[in-house]
């Protein structure tokens, strides 16, 4: 599978990373190098093999379904680039 500039642009869009049009050819070429390396995996017979979900056989622990944290609005907001009146401020999203 080879990635062209249109696909590279689509991937950049999905990843929400702005890529200038003139950078797309190089990006597409790098993707193709990396994917070419990854495609070795097609040689492996994976018939009947379960995809790994957890590297150590373990049941994830569950905690009690209770509120155990909260009331830290100030701490949560402190690192925000733009926080106003207890909210994260962003450009207008609804017309």
């Amino acid at each position: 599978m080879s990635i062209d500039e249109t696909t590279a642009a689509r991937v950049a869009k999905l990843a929400r990373i702005k890529v200038e049009p003139e950078a797309l050819p190089v990006l597409a070429a790098e993707f193709n190098t990396i994917l070419g390396f990854i495609e070795q995996l097609e040689e492996v017979d994976v018939e009947g093999v379960e995809p790994m979900t957890s590297v150590t056989p373990q049941r994830l622990k569950r905690r009690a379904d209770v509120v155990n944290d909260g009331g830290q609005q100030e701490a949560v907001m402190r690192n925000a680039p733009d926080a106003r009146e207890g909210f994260f401020a962003v450009p207008k999203v609804v017309e």
Binding site: V11, I38, P81, D82
Partner: protein, 494 residues
Amino acid sequence: MADLNKLGLAEARDALRAGDVTSVELTEACLGAIEGAGALNAFVHDTPEIARDQAAAADTRIKAGDAPAMCGLPIGIKDLFCTKGVPSQAGSRILEGFLPEYESTVSGNLLGAGAVMLGKLNMDEFAMGSSNETSVYGNAVNPWRRGNDTAELTPGGSSGGSASAVAADLCLAATGTDTGGSIRQPAAFTGITGIKPTYGRCSRWGIVAFASSLDQAGPMTKSVRDAAIMLEAMCGHDPKDSTSADLPVPNFEAMLTGDIKGKKIGIPKEYRMDGMPAEIETLWSEGTAMLRDAGAEIVDISLPHTKYALPAYYVIAPAEASSNLARYDGVRYGHRATLDQGDGITEMYEKTRAEGFGAEVQRRVMIGTYVLSAGFYDAYYNRARKVRTLIKKDFEDVFAQGIDAILTPATPSAAFGLGEAWDDPVQMYLNDVFTVTVNMAGLPGISVPAGTDANGLPLGLQLIGRPWEEGDLLNTAYALEARAGFVAKPQKWW
């Protein structure tokens, strides 16, 4: 005592407890060494006031006879660990100005055990790199040089600052993290010891996430004994990380007897790579002979899917990274791009991430996005996860045959020059060819300095252990260390 910064953890601990030295003295020696080592660019956020306060508190505890394992020992913390009120940027522009409101479990465990934090250490951006060249802070530099050649070498990556700082005696030890080899490769490049424990030994809570199913923290130290001491202080169950193991943590140091008689050490034929430098091959044979000499039984083994670990890793790690790094959107913390008139929220995300992430991080996030996208998920991501199952099974099979540990080279070469390996991204990825299998299988692995190349640069050997048997692994490493007798230090030029 002179040159206190040159001590290891065990020697310093014993000297502190004997009253021969104070933590304040140790800490001042390290702070002085850091100040004189700007050329290494290892420490990127210094915290001398915190260090001095912690050292004074440690001295009080030691005097009162209440000295926990790391009490008064000055260490460096990789920038990937969130440290309360201290910059924690993961080597990225996108976290510029971020001051965590909380302490990572591992750094908290170390501070709780009395450790003194000297500052934060350089690293590849989001731990994505093998040379520390993707850092927003600029390159960390290896204190080692090729003989009299003044060319700057990489300390490896991603824990390059940690490796450089420990090798140059700027601190007694440092934390690292390892997703594909980021503790073991830099340890090998700088002549120090580094262990990545079993997945789940150390809590990942508060460590900036790269690839959650592979990331593990571990110590980078001047000896195997130091690694045992510090690892024990770092690990333990943490309810805040659901993958953290609820298992007792043994006294690793007490397990260092050096007796490995009758242990079965596997030598995997698949690690004999085409084009491997003769020096690495020789080192590996010498290491094998050392373990045989120590009474271990050497067994030739096969790990047939080794070759596929790196390509599978370059599907799984970027896939997880693309998901983990989605949180950097310019809303809750870190960098936000300046917007133009009329820009909406999508432009804000796209510009913020384009400005905030470096080229390698962008590349990996996009590769991850691609392999997870509709139509390619099965072909890439699910296939890679199936291959991962097979890689783990390779190890399970040899352990079921009674193998106790596996000996391999740690890296395919000695440290290379900064700027030398960027011709194509895959070339850089090959640095992790011997270490990445261990992350894929969730196993413990340790790099031990074992020799030097023709230029006098350090080379490391890797030992891979059974899951949860870090104590046994450390003991095998201890036996190897004793026989390798690696004592060389870089000549000070900085």
